[in-house]
Each structure stands twice: as structure tokens, then as C-alpha cells.
């Protein structure tokens, strides 16, 4: 269980991407409860890519991205594909967040390189579990 006081990486930089403010607020609140302090937001896929690339150039890269799938103009899938094509973002833990729960959609996201998948509505326990998995992977990679 991650508790704020025992979070091994509270300064991990996290990017939340969703065109709906309510979801960004919900995720931010859930992650803050787990002790994460560097949580930033993007309202669309274009903004997300700019932030991801700039962060890398500034030598302060994001360590996890939560990205909505169903966004107008540049979807979460477009963002994922672009990340996986970029040598600096290829291994970024990418959690697709979506209201789509049909099996073929889950498979499509994972085949495109998503690290994990969260279905809305997001239960707080699920967010916790997904972050724990990502943090274990990050710790193992060090």
C-alpha cells in the first residue's frame, strides 16, 4: 500500500491528459493522496506532446503519463503512438484512461504500447493499484 509518508518517489513528475477537467481533478486528487507532489496537466493531445518533449529537453522528464483516449483532434491513441515512435519517450510508462471497456479496445491499446489501462469510472483503489505497479517497474529499472 502506498502511503504519502512511505511513497518512495513523491517527486516523480506525472502528466495527466484529459479534455475533461473533472477527470484531471479526480486523478490529481487521487495521486496527491498517495503522496505525489509534481502532478501537471494537459487539456489535449497536442499540449501533452509539447510538454513531454520539452520536459525531456529540460532534463526533467515526466515519469508517468495518464492519458484519456477519446479526445477530439489528437486522441490518446495518437499520443501513445507518437510517444512510442520517439526514442526519448519510448519507455515512458503510459496509462491509457478511457470509458471504453470492450476487450478489443483494451487489446488495441496494449498492442500499441500502453503500459496499462484504466476504465472510467475510476475507483480510487484501482488508481492506487496501477500506480503501485508502475512504481515497482520504475524501481526495477533503476
Amino acid at each position: 500500500m502506498i502511503k504519502p509518508e512511505t511513497n518512495p518517489n513523491p517527486r516523480a513528475r506525472i502528466l495527466l491528459v484529459d479534455d475533461y477537467e473533472m477527470i484531471r481533478v479526480f486523478l490529481r486528487s487521487g495521486l496527491a493522496e498517495l503522496g505525489f507532489r509534481r502532478i501537471e496537466e494537459a487539456k489535449n493531445g497536442f499540449e501533452a506532446i509539447v510538454k513531454l518533449k520539452q520536459a525531456y529537453l529540460n532534463k526533467d522528464p515526466y515519469e508517468v503519463i495518464f492519458c484519456d483516449w477519446n479526445m477530439p483532434e489528437k486522441s490518446g491513441m495518437d499520443v501513445l503512438v507518437e510517444c512510442r515512435r520517439d526514442k526519448h519517450l519510448q519507455t515512458l510508462p503510459f496509462i491509457m484512461v478511457t470509458a471504453e471497456s470492450e476487450q478489443d479496445k483494451v487489446v488495441e491499446a496494449l498492442k500499441a504500447g500502453a503500459t496499462d489501462y484504466i476504465v472510467k469510472p475510476i475507483a480510487p483503489g484501482i488508481l492506487h493499484k496501477k500506480m503501485l505497479k508502475v512504481m515497482f517497474k520504475m524501481a526495477a529499472a533503476v
Binding site: 475533461y20 477527470i23 481533478v25 477519446n70 470509458a99 470492450e102 472510467k120 469510472p121 475507483a123
Partner: protein
């Protein structure tokens, strides 16, 4: 489009009302811990509701179109969103409008998943939101399923309207 999907019609009945109810309760309680209380559903030829803010989403597949409307009295959506935002709302501002849109979207996706398991092929869609104190929610034609909900003494409704698309209409389009 499979032959099975072509022959399916959306039945506005207890089973569908239960699916709608589960989608609504799953969505709102899952994200807020607030469990809306459903009322008795009705199938009506004429919808006659008043609401302050409504999310609308078209449910499109080749043969049967439907429209899902989630209509809130403002105090109902204020109460629900206060749990997520940890603040009280007084106006149907941008945050509230977005909240209604996203709830409509999530409810639709849950409904779509269950209906598609039975052979339908409803697709992803984007919601619209209509705002106006006590605006009237009604249907142009065709039967509608209406499921009322109550949350902390404030009401909201889900309306599922059905339109059977004609073979000729589809080919012409």
C-alpha cells in the same frame, strides 16, 4: 454489420432499464461514492421533463439509432460534483458543464458495452451539453425509456430515445 445486429431492435423494457440504472449508479458511485436512488422506469410516447442542464449523446449503428439524454436539476449535479472538486458550486459554469458531459460519456460507454455484448454495434461518440434553467426535455417521435434518479433529495433523469433507421435512408446517406 452482422445479420444478427441488423435484426436486433432495442427493446425499451425492464432489462434495458436495469442496464441503464447499473450504468448510472456504477458511474456516479464509482467516482464519488454517492449512490443515486433509481425510481420506477416508464416507457412513454411523449417525454415531458424539465431540467437545468442536460448531456446528450447520439448512439449510432447502422440500423437502429438511439439518443441518450442525462438531465439534471442543478442541485443534483452540484451535489455530485462537490464530492470530486471538494468545493460547492453555485452556477452552471464550465466545470459543471464539463462534468455533465463526462458523466454522460461514461454512462453511455457502460451502456454501449452491455448492449454490444448482445449483438449491437454502437460506436464511440462525443456528448453535447445543453444549459438553461428548467429547459424542457422532450422527444420528437418514437418511444422513450425514462429512468428517474434521486441524489440527496435532488433529481436527475436518463432518457433513452429510439429511432429505427430505414434501409433506404441509410443507402441514400
Amino acid at each position: 454489420m452482422t445479420n444478427a445486429a441488423r435484426s436486433l431492435q432495442v427493446q425499451l423494457d425492464h432489462t434495458l432499464a436495469t442496464t441503464v440504472t447499473q450504468a448510472v449508479i456504477g458511474t456516479i458511485s464509482g467516482m464519488t461514492g454517492i449512490r443515486p436512488q433509481p425510481g420506477n422506469f416508464q416507457v412513454v410516447n411523449r417525454v415531458d421533463l424539465h431540467a437545468d442542464i442536460s448531456g446528450i449523446i447520439s448512439m449510432v449503428q447502422d440500423q437502429t439509432d438511439a439518443v441518450l439524454v442525462v438531465s439534471f436539476q442543478k442541485d443534483a449535479i452540484f451535489h455530485i460534483l462537490a464530492r470530486i472538486y471538494q468545493q460547492q458550486f453555485k452556477d452552471l459554469n464550465h466545470s459543471v458543464q464539463q462534468g455533465v458531459g463526462e458523466f454522460t460519456n461514461i454512462i453511455y460507454c457502460q451502456l454501449k458495452t452491455e448492449l454490444n455484448k448482445t449483438g449491437f454495434q454502437f460506436r464511440m461518440a462525443l456528448p453535447n451539453v445543453v444549459i438553461g434553467d428548467q429547459h424542457k426535455v422532450t422527444n420528437a417521435s418514437g418511444p422513450s425509456l425514462v429512468v428517474p434518479f434521486n441524489v440527496a433529495g435532488h433529481s436527475f433523469h436518463v432518457v433513452l430515445q429510439l429511432r429505427q433507421a430505414s434501409e433506404q435512408g441509410r443507402k441514400a446517406a
